[in-house]
């Protein structure tokens, strides 16, 4: 009797047995909870006579999207509405990421300024934007556009031929021709060429130690293909410039108030976070690094470009990735101001079809794939700039 109890005790105090026990309990718990929820869902669906499945995606939606990157009519299917929503989300996210990065970098460097006034002012900008909820900011900017700004007739001219009024933002746009597309393509080719040649030339410089300038070669390589494409296709550069009409502004690229507000709110909020990341990144580089660079005879610009920034980027990339991820996720607040992003399309679809489970499952799947794509890209970039220990 006593021996058996001893055996049992030994088993309980055996670390491997415990490891197994914990894991079996955890897995069983997850499976049982899942099964319980699943059976409830089935019972509820049967009780309410709700059909399941993704067939509804092929039905005509009747949804009216106020704007869309692709052409969308109410007679199109729910699937196409979802795609339009995804593209709207991606569109506003890309625009916001670009502006947030630009503004954030400038503000982050300005926060480190030796001028106390500039440093304090930028600190105020960062703190105000970080401490007010994003939803509140979106509501505020939406209200400013809709009820404070004048109508198109008295639109405010922010910059030459950039108008803002209660019907949105209007910017000049280039009239696209096939030639422009070829020029863009040529620019891409030139950039890739220049990048490759730069690598070679840098390697050659390290090898030979000569100080011949590299950048004129790169400039030539980048822009020569563009010039060739221009001479070959000769596209016209006609800008579509907006003009104030009696009731609306005609011409130019017209951005709806919802898009303008969302892009503005997302970029300014994210810029505050990016500014802090950039500042922290630059501050982590020890003073000795710049002193050593000066001792080697590098100028201030060279020190920043060749010594400080490459090291700061390594520290900056991981938190920057998180900021980009939260920006994309925050674009879901679009629903509050009526921008037809993927969440709003899903919400309307659920309301019209009653397919709640399918809709939300799809929505989560979409966001998970977006998040994973961004993470993978930034991880790749991070591995590219990371310290290579030899």
């Amino acid at each position: 009797m006593r021996a058996r109890r001893f055996e049992a005790m030994r088993l309980i105090f055996d670390i491997r047995f415990r490891a197994w026990l914990y894991q079996v309990v955890a897995v069983l718990g997850v499976i049982l909870t899942g099964w319980y929820l699943y059976s409830n869902v089935r019972a509820n669906l049967q009780a309410h006579n709700i059909a399941t499945g993704f067939d509804y995606l092929n039905r005509e939606s009747g949804l009216l999207l106020s704007e869309s990157v692709i052409d969308f009519q109410p007679s199109d299917t729910y699937a196409r509405a979802l795609v339009a929503g995804i593209l709207n989300t991606i569109h506003v996210s890309i625009v916001s990421v670009i502006f947030a990065t630009l503004i954030g970098t400038v503000v982050g460097v300005a926060r480190l300024s030796k001028n106390p006034l500039l440093a304090r002012l930028t600190m105020l900008y960062v703190e105000a934007l970080r401490n007010a909820p994003l939803l509140l900011q979106l509501f505020l900017w939406h209200a400013v556009i809709i009820s404070v700004l004048p109508g198109p007739r008295d639109a405010v001219e922010l910059l030459p031929s950039v108008f803002i009024s209660n019907s949105g933002l209007v910017i000049p746009s280039l009239q696209w021709e096939a030639g422009h597309r070829w020029m863009l393509f040529a620019l891409a080719v030139g950039l890739i060429l220049a990048w490759q040649v730069r690598k070679r030339l840098l390697a050659a410089r390290v090898e030979s130690g000569n100080q011949r300038l590299i950048w004129p070669h790169l400039l030539l390589l980048t822009f020569a293909p563009v010039l060739i494409a221009y001479l070959f296709f000769h596209p016209d550069f006609v800008f579509d410039i907006a003009e104030k009409g009696r009731f609306r502004i005609t011409g130019g690229m017209q951005l709806k108030p919802e898009f303008t507000v969302l892009a503005f709110g997302l970029s300014t909020t994210a810029s505050a976070f990016i500014a802090e990341i950039v500042r922290a990144g630059i501050m982590t580089i020890r003073k000795g690094q710049s002193e050593a660079a000066f001792a080697l005879g590098l100028t201030r610009g060279q020190t920043m470009r060749l010594v400080i920034l490459p090291q700061a980027v390594r520290v900056i990339i991981p938190p920057l990735t998180n900021t980009y991820l939260s920006l994309v996720k925050n674009s879901s607040l679009a629903i509050a101001i009526g921008f037809p992003d993927v969440v709003m399309v899903t919400n309307s679809t659920i309301n019209m079809t009653g397919q709640g489970i399918e809709g939300i499952a799809l929505l989560m799947l979409i966001y998970l794939s977006l998040s994973i794509t961004i993470s993978l890209f930034m991880n790749w970039y991070n591995a590219h700039v990371a310290l290579k220990e030899r």
């Binding site: 914990y22 006034l117 909820p133 509140l136 000066f294 991820l325 925050n330 969440v343 939300i360 929505l363």
Partner: protein, 364 residues
């Protein structure tokens, strides 16, 4: 770099009337570029200050009703006199506003008390439980002459505080467990934790709230209904737990492995090692990050408006949409809400800096 300048250039005649180094004048006007920046900043400050001052005080409407505000150019102060109570407490019965007010005061008082490090003890925890029970009872009512108020009538600042505070309090232990699970060497537990954390961090809070409002009723056994408030609370807890878990994991990873090895060599088993050695250090190291998680969730509670709860931002918007005030006090309402959120966030970040200093002082 300032030292290097001395060797860079020979001393010229113009150096003779240069302002002394390190003076305030030099910091503001040292170089032409610096002077230009200072000047531009001052002009910007002056313009913003002028507009703000005129709007807030000079052109402001101080008395009268909506009509006076419609004519006036500046801020509309009577709006607050009329609607402040609605903004703070929402649709809670007007005559019983003392109940949410006392709950709010009790809550804020407890927070203030807990901020003093000398007060930290097990007794404080008990006091908190008691205070929360009192808050809940006072809000619900239904006894001692207080009418019963269903949670659908709750709103305003007390609701925002409750969602974020109760959410974070429950999310903390869950988040710590998840962080331990993710760093555990038991594969099944690690996988479960990773899947949960990465799923929650990969989707926006809105979709989790949608799931709570649309799908949760389907997950419950037939006929059982859960109040929207509770559903939102569960969603916030699960969502916050994933973020707390990642922050705590950062703290766990920042500890040198010697700490784990030493604790094991002392004969401590897993839970004792975590409780006595590892977690206190890990959490101390992550205080700034944890506080910014708290600030984020305080702000994120505004999203519950999308599933129809009346948090502070929603009641402010409700006040602005009152038929009498429709379209009159738009900026006033939003700026007031922004000021309130900024105030509480600023208090939290100031407190985080205080804690950081205090703990650092203990180590040096």
């Amino acid at each position: 770099m300032a030292e290097l300048d001395v060797f860079d250039k020979p001393v010229a005649l113009s150096e003779a009337w240069r302002v002394p180094k390190d003076g305030a004048v030099r910091r503001y006007f040292g170089t032409p570029a610096n002077a230009a920046i200072t000047l531009l900043c001052m002009i910007a400050l002056f313009l913003i200050g002028k507009v703000a001052f005129a709007w807030l005080f000079v052109d402001a409407v101080w008395s009268g009703g909506p009509e006076a505000c419609k004519i006036g150019e500046g801020a509309c102060w009577p709006f607050f006199g009329d609607k402040l109570r609605f903004m703070l407490f929402g649709y809670f019965p007007y005559d019983e506003h003392w109940r949410p007010l006392s709950a709010l005061l009790l809550f804020v008082g407890m927070c203030g008390l807990s901020m003093v490090p000398r007060m930290w003890s097990a007794r404080l925890l008990l006091l908190w439980v008691a205070a929360l029970v009192v808050c809940y009872l006072v809000m619900t009512g239904g006894f001692a002459g207080m009418t019963a108020v269903p949670t659908t009538k709750w709103g305003g600042l007390p609701l925002s505080f409750m969602l974020s505070f109760v959410g974070l309090t429950c999310a903390f232990p869950l988040g710590i467990l998840l962080a331990l699970g993710r760093t555990s060497n038991l594969p099944a537990i690690r996988v479960i934790s990773i899947v949960f954390i990465e799923f929650m961090r990969g989707v926006p809070l809105i979709s989790v709230l949608f799931m709570a409002s649309v799908m949760l009723p389907l997950f419950m056994p037939g006929g059982m209904s859960v109040a929207t408030l509770l559903r939102a609370q569960v969603a916030v807890i699960l969502f916050a737990a994933a973020y707390v878990a990642e922050t705590v994991r950062g703290g766990l990873q920042s500890l040198p492995s010697g700490q784990f090895e030493a604790a094991q060599a002392m004969g401590l088993h897993y839970w004792l090692m975590m409780r006595l050695v590892i977690l206190p250090q890990a959490i101390k190291a992550m205080i700034p990050a944890l506080v910014s998680t708290c600030i984020n969730f305080f702000q994120d509670t505004t999203l519950v408006t999308i599933i129809g709860l009346l948090d502070f931002l929603t009641t402010v918007r409700g006040a602005m949409r009152d038929p009498n005030w429709q379209g009159i006090a738009v900026l006033e309402g939003y700026l007031f809400a922004a000021a309130v959120y900024c105030l509480f966030s600023a208090i939290m970040s100031a407190y985080s800096r205080f804690l950081e200093r205090r703990f650092r002082a203990g180590h040096d």
